[in-house]
């Protein structure tokens, strides 16, 4: 045995480690993202949500994390492609008959397809909200909040009346000027096609994570009979069911209820 | 006269004394020697690894696609060692004594003693390699009593001891391959031995994938090619196990010893039909809890066979637990030969069970009642599952059906104390040689012998030979003997490929198997053996005139591979019959109906047959010449084996 060994990232396990770590990081992001977005369900005309959106895009530590996030998405996708190509090469002639369902779950065998759906969704999602938000393509809003009663009144702002996000308290009234991402969300989700894409993508996400979450722990070597049931539980219930359903409810809520 | 080269002196000191007296090869000179190892089972892999560690260049050959697949891997039960970890009175001498007695006093004392002596080193060595033997809760090695031994000296790894030991030896071999000291040739079959000036100097092999016939030169050749049980067609051996390497060496001058000693194992799954390709052994440990029986009357047996009755319908009074009845002190745990013979008797009596009537029951109902199904499952679960897979019968609910099957061959290439054959420089190790088990092998002794030969005997003895050979004696690759032998091999292959008759090789092999099983199986008579000899000679003629061999040499050619092996089996079969005819006594696995006690037990004739029969090949279709190695017993008293 020689102690000279290939660099970790060029090895199969190293590449898998990258998939695992980026995947897990994206999972934690999902939790944060969901908690924040739950504010969409508040009936405050987007007051809380828009404030949150500003905070998330302007607080430096979070900005740093967000770059990590973009990088993770790209790396996760690129490595997925690299690994898939490797895997294809590892079996140049396929089987005439391959009975996968007898030995494994459908979603575990089709992470690539599920991931692709999610990637397409992500592109649409970012274009609709992230890009528009960052490029001044969303409407503006002014909230006047009576600090003694807590009542909020909303005014649409014209682009000309908006310079930057500001919160001014004047005479017991808090005046907030902000970009109205909430309105953009409401607008976007009137499109049934988009709503359908979101729901499908969340289903894909669900199946992707039911396998992916547990799989990530297996890859980093965490497979312990005491804790694996917990991971499996989290993977199925939190990441496979609650999170995707909660996300899917958002477009449905705007389309059907709002 | 055959010289066994057993060193003088007291039994217990022979090996140490001999080790000292043997010459050593200078460490710097070891790399000038090449040793060829044919076969990579326990004996071959352990020998190759150990010799390479010493510094010799080693070439290994196996017909399988990997050294790890040699049939040692299938050994289930365990490996004996005189460790006396259990404090139950075991000792080297006791293991020696049991083995000599178990072999019915037809083995060489000095060899058996050495085997018992190094048995303890084997366990140490294997544990050091990481062989996962069974452990007790405190972390110590666990032992069990096996095959009716009175002490617990068997080390085991669940029901896969052979597998684990072989993987240990294979790992040691891999280490040397990695270091470049061993060159491993897989899917290669040895087809002849090359002799130069009377010494073994190389082999001729066929690359089974490309068909290339290659000559490999070396200073010594080690045959570790296993036994010849497949002469019976149906046996517990792997499909590929064959005698070809040893037989071709025999034809080049290596005497073949005691070919008639074959072991028929009692607990195998019975034959179901003509399509059957091999027999499956179930560990003898089953007899620890299972009870062997047949119905008392032929009428009841007939009803069972027709399916009119089930085993459970037979009342206790109507059952004959024949081993318990005849051998009250050993009961179901009598040695293999005795258990097998009694099963055959019951079947010959018309009391066999199962559709074919060629089986006896092995019943676990009592054990399940006494210990509970869970305990029985924990002990034998994998065996019960295996039985269920093959027979589609649930052994928890109905008794197993078992019948003896050919399992091991005690006979083999004759070797002296140094494991050298009658050809200088040619050695035989493991089941391939004849040496340590006499006329009957005890359970858990085969693994011990293979590893003893490979790890602890051959590294010394081959060194002695090489040291005397001197390093001024390189092998001349261009010696005409290599080319000549190669051509002879090619001629033989061409002769086989030219056979375009009607029968398949398997047809002939099955016929040979029938003859051997019928006349040279569990019970033999002069009359039957004489008849068998004639039948085999006819079969040989038929083979060389009416068999069909397809394809060409330059490809993976199943029919060619088989044809070459069966041709050799036929010749060996005839020699087995000759040997069985010559040995007019009964001993161990060799039971001559003419020689039995009043109670029907094997009767040895010590004054006439206390010798090893070593046969010399003298030419095609010539009778082989018998040489005798007298067996001298200085340390044990020959007694009639009794398991009453």
């Amino acid at each position: 045995m020689s102690s000279k060994s290939k660099p970790v990232l060029s090895s199969s396990i190293g590449k898998k480690l990258i998939m695992s770590l980026t995947g897990l990081f994206l999972c934690t992001f999902l939790v944060i993202h969901l908690i924040g977005n739950l504010q969409l369900f508040k009936s405050d005309d987007g007051y809380a949500f828009n404030n949150y959106a500003y905070f998330m895009t302007h607080f430096t530590p979070i900005k740093v994390v967000s770059y990590l996030l973009y990088a993770s998405i790209i790396i996760h996708a690129v490595y997925a492609i690299v690994l898939t190509m490797n895997n294809r090469k590892a079996r140049p002639i396929g089987y005439k008959q391959y009975d996968g369902q007898s030995n494994s779950k459908w979603n575990s065998r089709n992470m690539g397809i599920l991931g692709t759906i999610i990637l397409v969704f992500l592109a649409t999602h970012l274009q609709n909200f992230w890009w528009k938000y960052h490029n001044d393509q969303v409407p503006y809003v002014e909230y006047r909040k009576d600090l003694s009663t807590g009542a909020i009144t909303t005014y649409e702002l014209q682009a000309a009346d908006f310079t930057e996000y500001s919160v001014i308290t004047d005479n017991g009234v808090e005046v907030t000027k902000a970009r109205n991402l909430y309105k953009q969300v409401d607008f976007a989700f009137q499109n049934i096609g988009l709503v359908a894409l979101y729901v499908i993508a969340m289903a894909a996400l669900a199946f992707h994570l039911i396998h992916g979450f547990g799989s990530a722990f297996q890859t980093i070597g965490f497979n312990h009979k005491k804790y694996v049931p917990i991971i499996r539980f989290l993977g199925v219930w939190i990441f496979g069911i609650i999170i995707p359903i909660a996300f899917a409810l958002m477009p449905l809520y705007f389309y059907f209820i709002k | 006269m055959l010289d066994s080269k057993v060193p003088a002196g007291p039994l217990a000191e022979k090996w140490s004394k001999h080790k000292f007296e043997m010459k050593l090869v200078n460490p710097a000179n070891k790399r000038k020697f090449t040793i060829i190892v044919v076969g990579t089972g326990l004996a071959g892999a352990s020998a190759a690894a150990s010799l390479a560690e010493l510094g010799y260049n080693v070439k290994t050959f196996c017909y399988q696609d990997s050294p790890r697949r040699a049939h040692s891997i299938a050994a289930q039960g365990g490996i004996n060692a005189a460790k006396d970890y259990q404090n139950d009175g075991d000792s080297v001498f006791r293991l020696f004594y049991d083995t000599i007695k178990g072999g019915d006093y037809r083995a060489r004392e000095a060899n058996v003693y050495r085997l018992a002596e190094v048995s303890t080193n084997i366990i140490d060595q294997c544990v050091a390699q990481g062989v996962p033997f069974a452990r007790e809760y405190g972390g110590l090695l666990d032992n069990r009593s096996f095959g009716g031994a009175q002490v617990s000296r068997t080390f085991y790894a669940r029901g896969q001891t052979g597998q684990q030991l072989l993987l240990g030896a294979y790992s040691a071999l891999n280490r040397q391959i990695q270091k470049g000291k061993v060159q491993s040739y897989t899917r290669h079959e040895m087809l002849d031995l090359v002799k130069v000036d009377g010494q073994a100097r190389g082999i001729i092999t066929r690359d089974m994938v490309t068909g290339k016939i290659e000559a490999h030169e070396g200073h010594a050749v080690l045959l570790c090619t296993g036994g010849y049980g497949n002469v019976f067609f149906l046996s517990t051996n792997a499909m590929g196990c064959n005698i070809t390497a040893a037989w071709r060496a025999h034809k080049r001058g290596a005497f073949f010893a005691n070919p008639c000693y074959t072991q028929i194992h009692p607990t195998c799954i019975p034959v179901t039909g003509d399509h059957q390709s091999k027999l499956t052994l179930m560990s003898e440990s089953l007899r620890n809890d299972g009870r062997v029986w047949v119905p008392k009357t032929t009428e009841l047996a007939a009803k069972l066979r027709k399916g009119e009755l089930k085993a459970a319908d037979i009342k206790e009074d109507d059952r004959d637990y024949f081993l318990e009845r005849k051998y009250p002190s050993f009961g179901n745990l009598v040695p293999r030969d005795v258990a097998s013979r009694n099963a055959k008797e019951a079947v010959d009596d018309g009391r066999g069970v199962g559709k074919s009537g060629v089986a006896v029951f092995l019943d676990f109902a009592d054990a399940i009642q006494r210990l509970g199904e869970d305990t029985v499952r924990a002990k034998y679960g994998n065996l019960f599952d295996m039985y269920y897979q093959i027979t589609d019968e649930n052994p928890y609910k109905q008794p197993m059906r078992i019948y003896p099957a050919v399992h091991y061959t005690m006979g083999g290439v004759w070797v002296d104390y140094n494991l050298m054959t009658t050809v200088p420089g040619l050695y035989a190790l493991g089941e391939c040689n004849f040496s340590d088990h006499g006329a009957n092998r005890l359970g858990a002794s085969a693994l011990m012998q293979g590893l003893s030969d490979g790890y602890f005997v051959i590294p010394y003895t081959v060194g002695d030979y090489l040291a005397k050979l001197g390093n001024f004696n390189p092998v001349d690759k261009n010696h005409p003997a290599f080319e000549q032998t190669r051509q002879e091999v090619e001629q033989k292959i061409n002769a086989l490929l030219a056979l375009k008759g009607e029968k398949t090789v398997d047809d002939i092999h099955k016929e040979l198997g029938h003859i051997m099983w019928e006349y040279c199986g569990m019970a033999r008579t002069a009359e039957g053996l004489t008849k068998a000899k004639g039948l085999i000679q006819e079969l040989k003629k038929e083979f060389w005139s009416n068999v069909k061999v397809l394809g060409e040499n330059e490809e993976l050619n199943m029919s060619l591979e088989k044809a070459g092996r069966v041709a050799d089996f036929i010749e060996l079969g005839e020699l087995m019959v000759d040997d069985a005819l010559n040995r007019r006594e009964s001993c161990g696995g060799h039971f001559r109906l003419e020689s039995q006690t009043e109670e029907g037990e094997a009767l040895r004739i010590d004054e006439e047959f206390t010798y090893v029969s070593a046969w010399e090949y003298t030419g095609d279709d010539q009778p082989e010449v018998l040489h005798k190695e007298e067996l001298v017993f200085e340390n044990v008293k020959l007694t009639q084996r009794s398991y009453k």
Binding site: V8, Y98 | I73, A128, M386, T504
Partner: protein, 257 residues
């Protein structure tokens, strides 16, 4: 008692590693249900031979499920439709009269087809040679009972050690990954005290060799575990990953010269 059946086999035939193969349809008639699958092929081969046609080449040896030589993907499943057994332990009672059976070799770049259904698995040997051993010479080993191994550790190591190296894990894996096989050996020695000295080098050396052989990457589908005739567990792969990553991140830099 035993029923007989007629079957249609679609068998991969390929002359050698250089030629292209194709499926050939062969009838197997009058097959008894108590035959093993390989005995069925024996009969088919016997018929082919009688007709002067080349018999189907397939690897097999012990025919009792331990040597690991037999292979065959049968109707899309390595070692056929049952779990926990090898092809040689599969019996024809698992099939029915009139059934079509597709028989293919293991498919992987690292297992090139040699002929018909036989593939070259020497890549497995090379992985073992890279580090699947304890560096110990013959002779001079300490008394076996000086090494105490708790029963549960010994049992766990044994479970890993029962791998027969058949390659069904690779055949079953949609990525043709060999991680179950490699991890079984790494696990055996990672668990046992005898394997500690070279524990981390071993993991690295064997993983490197595995990658060099061109096997795919594990995506944790669990197909290997499901199809393994010896029930080797996925926990082995986790352990291998752990060993390898520990080696890479924490152990490799310990040595400064």
């Amino acid at each position: 008692m035993s029923a007989h059946m007629n079957l249609t086999l679609k068998v991969w035939r390929q002359k050698n590693d250089k030629s292209k193969g194709q499926f050939v349809t062969i009838q197997a008639n009058d097959i008894a249900d108590d035959m093993s699958f390989l005995e069925m092929l024996d009969i088919v081969n016997d018929d082919l031979t009688r007709k002067g046609e080349d018999p189907i080449y397939f690897d097999h040896d012990c025919r009792e499920g331990i040597c690991g030589m037999c292979s065959l993907v049968i109707n899309g499943r390595p070692h056929g439709p049952k779990y926990g057994i090898t092809t040689c332990q599969l019996h024809m009672r698992s099939f029915h009269d009139g059934q079509t059976i597709v028989i293919e070799p293991w498919r992987a770049a690292a297992f090139p087809v040699l002929k018909d259904l036989a593939v070259d698995r020497t890549s497995f040997d090379r992985i073992q040679q890279a580090g699947g051993y304890v560096n110990v010479n013959t002779g001079g080993a300490q008394d076996a009972n000086n090494i105490l191994i708790p029963k549960r550790i010994a049992d766990e190591a044994f479970e890993s050690a029962t791998c027969i190296g058949c390659g069904a894990c690779v055949a079953a894996c949609k990525n043709a990954s060999a991680m179950l096989f490699v991890s079984a050996k790494i696990s055996q020695f990672a668990l046992l005290p005898q394997g500690q000295t070279e524990r981390y080098e071993r993991a690295q050396a064997m993983v490197d060799q595995m990658d060099a052989e061109g096997f795919g990457n594990c995506t944790n589908t669990g197909a290997c575990e499901a199809e393994c005739p010896k029930g080797i567990k996925l926990t082995n792969i986790a352990r291998m990953n752990r060993e390898y990553l520990t080696a890479k991140f924490f152990r490799e830099e310990d040595i400064h010269n």
